[in-house]
Each structure stands twice: as C-alpha cells, then as structure tokens.
C-alpha cells in the first residue's frame, strides 16, 4: 500500500501513452492523452494524502483551522490541471474534426501528408 497509489498513477500515464502509440483513431488518441493526464492528478492527490483521519483542507466557523488536513497545494495544482485538460482536449478534438473533414479519415496510419 505504501507505493500502490504511485504505481497506479504511473500505470495510467504509461497506459495513456501506449494508447496513443497504438491508436487507430484520432479521437481515441485524444482520449488516451487525457487518461495519461489523469495519471498526474492521481499522483498529485496521493502525494498530498495523510493517514489517520486528516480532513479536507477546508475549514469553517466550526472547525478550527489546523494542519491535521491533507495537502491543499496539490489539490490546487490538480484543479489548474483539470481546466487545462478540458481546454487541450477541446483544441485537439477541433483539430481532429477538421482533419477528418479534409482527409476523409481519422486513422493516423492513413494520414500521410507530412512524410520525410
């Protein structure tokens, strides 16, 4: 369990990359890229976790602020990352739509305009 969370995140990054390598459809490649990115979310959030009933880093008028909470900084970074993920995916999907429109295919194996 000590490193299981880290290994899962590493696995997601590799699996996503593997998906891009063997992809036969651009939309699939884009989706795999977002799986690889999800690996970074899992890694960051696991790094910030703390055993023993540490709370979320959100305090109110009732719970006094204390440091028996999970790391807020990795959560903030992940939030930034998630918005980036939506935007990058949008741009990539827009490109995929236009490529399919111009070339009549979205299979990377059949797209061959940039050789050499």
């Amino acid at each position: 369990m000590h490193v299981y969370a880290y290994l899962v995140s590493g696995y997601l990054i590799l699996a996503g990359s593997y998906g891009i390598v063997r992809s036969r459809h651009l939309v699939h490649a884009v989706v795999c890229l977002s799986v690889a990115q999800a690996g970074t979310y899992v890694l960051l959030i696991s790094i910030g976790y703390q055993h023993g009933g540490a709370t979320a880093p959100v305090f109110g008028s009732t719970t006094k602020p204390n440091t028996h909470a999970v790391d807020p900084v990795v959560q903030a970074m992940t939030l930034t990352d998630i918005v980036v993920s939506a935007t990058v995916s949008a741009l990539l999907l827009a490109l995929a739509i236009q490529i399919n429109k111009r070339q009549g295919t979205a299979d990377p194996d059949e797209l061959a305009t940039l050789r050499g």
């Binding site: 992809s23 490649a29 884009v30 890229l33 741009l91 490109l95 236009q98 305009t113 940039l114």
Partner: protein, 604 residues
Amino acid sequence: MSGPAELMPAMVATCVVVACVLAVAGRVLPRRVIDGLAIATMLGVTCAAVVLLRYTGEGRRYLWMGGWGPHDGVSVGIPFVADPASAGLAVLVGVLTTCALLFSWHYLDAVHGHFHALVLLFAAGTEGFAFSGDLFDLIVFFELMGGAAYALTAFHIEDETSLQGGLNFAIVNSLGAYLSLTGLALLYARVGQLGLPQLHDALAHQRADALVVTSFVLVMTGFLVKGALVPFHFWTADAEAVAPTPVCVLFSGVMVELGLYGVARVYWTVYAETIPAADIRRAFLVIGAVTAVVGAVMCLGQRHFKRLLAFSTIAHMGLFMLGFAVLTPDGLGGVAVYVLGHAGVKGVLFLLAGVLLNRYGTIDELRLFRLARDQRLVATVFFAAALALAGLPPFGTALGKSIAEDAAATAGYPWATALFVLVSAATGGAVLRFGARTFLGWGDTPAPDQLAGTRLGEAVPEEDDMPARTPATMLSAIGILLASALAVGVVPGVGRAAAHAAERLIDGKGYAGQVLAGQPPAPLLPEPAAAWTGPGIWLGLLSTLLALVVAAAGLWSGRLRWMNVADPVMRRLHRVHSGHVGDYVAWMFAGMAVLVALVGLPLV
C-alpha cells in the same frame, strides 16, 4: 528590490488584457485598429523589457507575487525573477512578436482579431515562462505557450497539412508537459516545495538517487520536446513547415530556444549541485551532437523551403545544446549570442518564404526553379541571410558560433568545434542552394518526373490579393530582423553582456541566495573572453566557404553519382520522420530511456 521588477507581471498581464479585448471586440473593430493595438502593445512590452534588462545589469530583480515573500528560506508564494538571460529573452520575444505582427499587417485573414489575440497570449506565455521562478508555474506558462501555439499552427483550416502539423505538435507537447508535471510531483513528494530557489536549497544536500534522477529526466522531457532535440524533435518540422509565416518566426526564433532555456534554468537552479556535472555533460553532448547531425542531414534533403528551414532550426538547436553542454559560462554566453543572431536570420528567411508563397503559390524548390529571377531586392536580402546562417562574419550568428566553438575547444571537445563548422555549412548550404535555384536559375533543370504527381510545397496562399510590390510593412519587418542580426555581431559589448547573462544563469546558488535571503549578487568577471577572435573569424569564413561547396554540390548533384552511396541511410532517416503521432510518442519514450541510461547508470 521591486520598482523595475514590477514590470514583469505588468508585461504578462498587459498582453492578456489586450488579447481579451481583441478577442471580444475583434468582430466590430476595423482591421487597422486591431493591427495597431496589437503592435502598440508589443512595442510597449518590448520597451518595458529593455528597461528591465538595463536594470538587471546591477543584479537580479525579483518580485514575490501576492506579496508572499519568504520567511526563513521558505515561502508559499511564487517569485518572478529577472536576470539578464530572462530579461533578454523577453526583449527577444517583444522584437520578434512586433515583427511578426508588422508582417501580418493587413496580410493573413485574421478572423475577427483571433489571430492577434492568440499571438498576444503566446507572448504572455513566453514572458511568463522566462520570468517564472516556480517549477509548477513554469509548466503552466509552458502550456499557455503551447495552447496558443497549437491553434496558431493550424490556423489555415483549409490546409490539411497544417491541421495535421498542429495535431502532432499538440499531442506530443502536451504529453511532454504532463511528463514534466510527473517529474515535478516526484520532487514535491520528496521536499514539499515548488519554487526554484527553495528547490535549490532543498536538493543541495541530497544524494542523486533514483527519485532525483527520474524526476530530472521527466521534468527535462517536456523542455526537450519544446526544444526540438532528437529524438523529441519530430513535431518541429511538421509544425514549422505548415504554420502561418509570422508564427514560424516566433516558433523558430524563440519558442524552441525557450525549451533549452528551461533545461538550463532548471538544471542550474535545481539539480546542478546534486547530479554530477560529468553525467549531465555526457548526456547533453550526446543529445546535442545527434540533434545537430540529424537536423543538418535532413535539412539537406528537403525541397519544401519551410520544412528545410525547420530542420535547419533543429540542427541549430543541436549546436545550442552543445554550447550549453560544456557547462561553462563561455559556452552558454556563446549560445546566447548565437540565439539572438539566429532568431534574426531565421526570421528573415521565414518571412521571405512567406513572400515567395504569396507570389508564386508554392515554396517547392524545384517548382520555383528560375521563377524569381526578377526579384533583385528579395534575392539580395535572401543571400545575405543565407550566408549569415552559414556563419559569415560579422553577423551575430558568426560571433555566437565563434564564442561557442572556442568554449568547446577550451573544454576539451574539439570535435564539437568541428561540428559547429560542418553543421553551419550544411544548413547554410541548403538555403543557398534553394536561393540559387530560385533567384538565379542555377543548377540542373528539374526532370519532369520530379515535378509530376506531387503537391509538395504547395499551400493555400496566405493573402488573397497580394499586391505586385511587397508592402512596406512586410519589408520593414524583414529589414528590422536582418539589421538586428547584424547588430548583434557588430555592436561592441553584446558578447560581454551575453557572457554576464550566462554567468548569472549558471549561478544557481546566487539565484537562491538573492531571491530567498536578499543576499547581494556575486561580482561578475570584469572582462569575459567573449568577442571576435582571429580563429573565430577564420572558422566563420571556412564554414561559409564550405556552405558554398555544399550548395554547388546540391545544385549539380545529378552529375555526382558517388553521392548515391548515402541514399539508403537518407531514405531510412526520411522514413523515420513519418508524420505519425504514434511514432513520435514511441520515440519520445525511447529518448527518455536513453536519458535515464546516460544520467542514471553512471550513478549506480
């Protein structure tokens, strides 16, 4: 310590604000206003960067965002730090962006100011990247640069090659950024800090174990992708061959160089005291040499002019990497001068490619054969830039090349010096060959079968009704760039300033000490050896001469049967550059594996 330091966030924020205004009001504003507003903004930003650069002569300028300054060497805030290297890059960004916008004055269907807004956001990203003193923030601005750049690459949606170039670029670069983020996460898990100065202090006492090395390789991967270094470079040719002309100027002049800047900045502030210099030197010398050779060989084999220029950029990135990899202030100072000269020269060549494309509807070398013989002015500028690329003194490229060559030889790598000469000759020769065919009509007449059945180099002209004479705004952009490339070489003191910039960039300890504890900056060497030298001038002339030989060999290669021996190697190399994004990702991981082996194995 603030004052001039406040210019840094102001520059980034101004670009963002104006970009938003253009994005929202672009559809109602007349084209002239859009052009004028964007150019005025970039002029203002350039002036601010120049002011900042002058102040950095006295030491680094820094500002903690949100007022969260450090206590006892730690902080929750993000610093922006200006040293001569980052401020100089900001000036370079300003000048290149201004020229790119000048060139697109009225040119290019701008689609409601979208083009200008994206260019300004790109500028904001590059400036933030140059100034940021925080590893996560660096990656955020890296992605901002990327996001704007992907859309700009594919701006001509009618052109299928530009779409595919944009997609390959976007996937490979984004994956690179995510891998950098993974490396950052490993580092954060160990030391719980993100600022570059804090990371410096935290890592200074660590052993280079598996975590440090792996995080190094992962963080560097993103920057190496951006820096177009083999085998992370494949996207570069695809993107630069197809992006709109003004965008190519930015990509080849400053974006890929910022990748190398990221490598240098993060290495020297974070890892330099942990990972032994010998390992780093070996790894980066290998990467630099392979990049230079692959770029030069591929450059020689191109007939699509923008693609040719893109491979020349890759070859030069290899040379810059070699200059960096000797890990001395002289080497890096030479690279700094070389980068400035190269940005001007390459910018001129890309803009001339744009002029040709608009006039003749193609930039294929064989189709352009003898077509442009009446273009006296364009031809003169073209050959000046081509010779400068080959390393002809007194251009800035030659000065930078000479300083870096000297540094490599002094550090005990004469083969690197030889590579500088040969690669400059090859890339300059390829460009000269293109010019001789196009403007002079020299060389063998292309066989009909070489022209048939290929649409290579053809593209949708970027301007519908190109006037018979090239407009003054376009010419002025070209003139500014060529003059800057010359000025870098002839204005006294550029070499010295670059050497000082390199000294500051290398001094990671001083960076951390000044930003975290307000320590005074270390004194600089009074007279660095960074000026024209006799051997440097001779080597510059030699590479120019060799470039002429290369060009002649290319023009009349049909008569040189013995050159066919190299064909199988060439064919294989060409096949590797397949335009297939899956291939690119596979090579990226192979490159990471090589980097792990080069840096990690000696430590086991």
